[in-house]
Amino acid sequence: MTQPVLTARGLTKRYGKVTALDRCDFDLMPGEILAVIGDNGAGKSTLIKAISGAVVPDEGKIELEGAPVRFQSPIEAREAGIETVYQTLAMSPALSIADNMFMGREIRKPGLAGKLFRKLDRPEMERIAREKLNELGLMTIQNINQAVETLSGGQRQGVAVARAAAFGSKVIILDEPTAALGVKESRKVLELIQDVKSRGIPIILISHNMPHVFEVADRIHVHRLGRRLCVIDPKEHTMSDAVGLMTGAIEPEAA
């Protein structure tokens, strides 16, 4: 049996009286696309935040490639190769697209200007940013130096996805990456997800869009009331099964 890339056991996170994660287990296999589905407030975002270091779980343990990890911040998870598109997108509205894409991993000029004066290599960062956006088909973005606040919601989401795809090396997590996207842009994101998969990088995809989930996912993690209810194979189950499970209309055994 192959080893999972990422496993979590007994993750618990409480916000005061609210239990967002309740002894949740989680497994991600190498090279797979794992969809995570569940009702609003089921705890999907909290689960991936616990994995990406944005939230430190109260209990439970996480292993990346068999080694235990305990991320205290998103920076640590990122350094370990886990890249995340958060539901809130995590962009600085007043800064430019290029600034946002390279936030926390800026490229410096070669030579003295970069070493001594720590000068940023703007042209290089802009070139890469433009390239990544073009790969995603975000052609409607005119100016790579425009502030993110001047972009539409969908364009912003596209930039966030491009950022994660450009830098993720071990795991890429997407929390509702197509929620605000148009038909064409959603398609591009799905293609990008396949593309990332073909590079051998596993993906965690949170989505409420069942056709998308059933199209790309290798396995579906059904999340309910803060924990993993079951994992289903999209080839053996229908969308109705999935919706029934996540809403509690069907019990896992019956499915």
Binding site: L95, M103, K184
Partner: protein
């Protein structure tokens, strides 16, 4: 039932070019608005130039002379340095009420360490700068780790530092003649460079250098981008991979250091070391005024440090110009008040990205 409509296939024929629109149609106001949005220091620069022209026309060569114009620089050097410090804090969406008090206490520390303990003035100045940095670190730690609001932290620190300043110095002034005779290095920044009628003190040079360096660092280094990101939305910055705590700590420490520099500038400007210098009481408000007139948003993340410098200069121009015109000094305060409100109104207009 027919096969599901493959609506996505249609997009295959879509344009693959980067979208382009005609920029010329925006009109004069639109383009001006765009320029202000990308160059926030433009508004205070226009106001500054306009104020100099108006006073120059009214007062003639008395005002519009190298001597008078460089006199303004000398008069704003302390506030200018404090405004640079204040800008950094306000960019992180904070506010620092302790800047003036830190400057005064550090000038007192530099003087007392020299005169009370006989430390060579060079080391006394170095100690004073380190001391200011340490106060900044305490502010930063309380804001970033203990998560207290910057207003409260620095309101308290202002009182603490001001009181410590009186207690430590026993309210004694070190006279200018004594410093000149025994420790002239303390007055180093008061040295003058004359170019024709223009007079620059080293304190003025320091202020200009400081603004230039900070403008570069904020624009062209990763740290500068992080300062803006933290001011814009700290949660987003953290998720995007910025060490928010480290950024805030470094900002508050740099600010403490700059305030101590302002203390050294004060010794050069006044000659003496006085614990009761007015900077301790009103320096914070003067600095905030310059920053606001300079177009830095109090909500953080927007504006440029060059704007704050222009803001400090605008206040200096009004003060000197109105005094030369023989106006009641209250007119200065009245006009500054109008400018503050106007500046924030303009800031709101610029932030309307949809215009």
């Amino acid at each position: 039932m027919s096969a599901p409509d493959n609506y996505e296939a249609v997009t295959a024929g879509a344009s693959q070019d980067v979208a382009k629109f005609d920029d010329e149609k925006k009109g004069l106001i639109g383009r001006f608005h765009h320029a202000l949005h990308t160059t926030p220091a433009l508004v205070p620069l226009i106001v500054l130039v306009a104020a100099i022209i108006v006073f120059g026309l009214v007062l003639g060569s008395k005002f519009f002379s190298p001597f008078a114009l460089t006199l303004i620089l000398q008069q704003v050097q302390i506030v200018g340095v404090l405004a640079a410090a204040q800008s950094l804090i306000i960019l992180t969406a904070g506010i620092d009420l302790s800047v003036g008090a830190i400057a005064v206490l550090c000038s007192v520390v530099m003087g007392q360490v020299t005169f009370r303990y006989g430390v060579p003035p060079f080391f006394a100045v170095a100690f004073g700068l380190a001391f200011g940095t340490m106060i900044g670190a305490i502010n930063g730690w309380l804001v970033s780790r203990v998560k207290l609001p910057p207003f409260i932290v620095t309101l308290g620190m202002w009182q603490i530092v001001l009181a410590a300043n009186y207690l430590y110095s026993a309210n004694e002034t070190i006279r200018s003649q004594d410093i000149e005779a025994q420790a002239p290095f303390l007055q180093f920044l008061g040295n003058k460079l004359k170019l024709g009628g223009a007079t620059f003190t080293l304190g003025v040079v320091l202020m200009l250098l400081l603004v230039a360096i900070l403008a570069y660092v904020l624009r062209s280094t990763a740290w500068g981008r992080h300062v803006y990101a933290v001011g814009d939305d700290p949660d987003a910055a953290e998720l995007a991979g910025v060490d928010v705590h480290k950024t805030l700590m470094s900002v508050y420490m740099v600010v403490g250091f700059i305030c101590a520099l302002a203390g050294w500038v004060m010794i050069g400007r006044f000659g003496s070391v006085s614990p009761s210098a007015t900077t301790g009481v009103i320096g914070n408000i003067q600095a905030i005024t310059a920053v606001v007139i300079g177009g830095i948003s109090l909500f953080g993340g927007r504006g440029s440090i060059v704007g704050s410098f222009f803001g400090a200069m605008i206040v200096g121009v009004f003060e000197l110009g109105l005094r030369m015109a023989g106006a009641n000094p209250q007119w200065t305060f009245l006009l500054i008040g109008v400018l503050i409100i106007a500046a924030v109104a303009v800031d709101q207009w610029i932030r309307k990205v949809s215009a």
